[in-house]
Amino acid sequence: MIRVQTEDFDPGAELDKLVAGRTDIGASVSFVGHMRSRNEDRDIETMTLEHYPGMAEKALSAIEAEAHKRWPLQASSIIHRVGPLKPGDRIVLVITASAHRQAAFEAAEFLMDWLKTKAPFWKKESGPEGDSWVSSRSTDEDAAQRWTAPAKPD
């Protein structure tokens, strides 16, 4: 399940919904990305997330489908917020559920690495020094690259 929304989400409630009634899930991993008040030595008061409506949803669905191809996942959720956010706010949620923990851990990392570099979202930071668009990080690109080789079969 993927969702792009302006509202906040409740990670616990989302996890409960995902695993409700399921007895084949032995492990779930949840990742929540939060907004920090400092980035690269700058104070940030507001971060505005922009997306390409339509393409963002397509990209997230494709990334989720790829995770299901690579790992034996029973269920997954990706929620990405857009619009203005304040320090401490939740930005993104990824949940993966599987029979065993290793697939859930790995798939959650994969989903985060790929969504940072392959889904059309952009961050703008605003603070006392003005507004600036966040530039992409080579460390994020490296993190995404390590998944380019297909995962080993079980």
């Binding site: 997306h51 390409y52 990405h80 570099t117 979202f121 952009w122 668009w133 966040v134 530039s135 994020d140």
Partner: protein
């Protein structure tokens, strides 16, 4: 064709979208179109200054600069993604 600008492309060009008539789109590459746009004024030339950060999608599918525009109905320009 609908032309969309995201993030600092929108800031520099000063609009989120516009409609541009293309002739001979079956021969026109994304790169040709970028050169055409860059000549439309100061904001455009600033936006397309550094081709290494110009990312493009045709009908919501990311493509490289050598792709022929063809029958696409929507083209979008944006910097590298920074979500998550």
């Amino acid at each position: 064709m609908k032309v969309l600008y995201f993030a600092w492309f929108r800031d520099r060009i000063g609009m989120a979208e516009e409609e541009i008539e293309l002739s001979e789109a079956d021969k026109l590459t994304v790169r040709d179109f970028i050169h055409h746009l860059a000549g439309r004024g100061e904001g455009y030339s600033a936006a397309f200054e550094d081709m290494s950060v110009v990312h493009v999608a045709l009908d919501m599918q990311e493509v490289d600069h050598d792709t022929i525009i063809g029958g696409a109905s929507e083209i979008a320009f944006y910097p590298p993604f920074t979500g998550g």
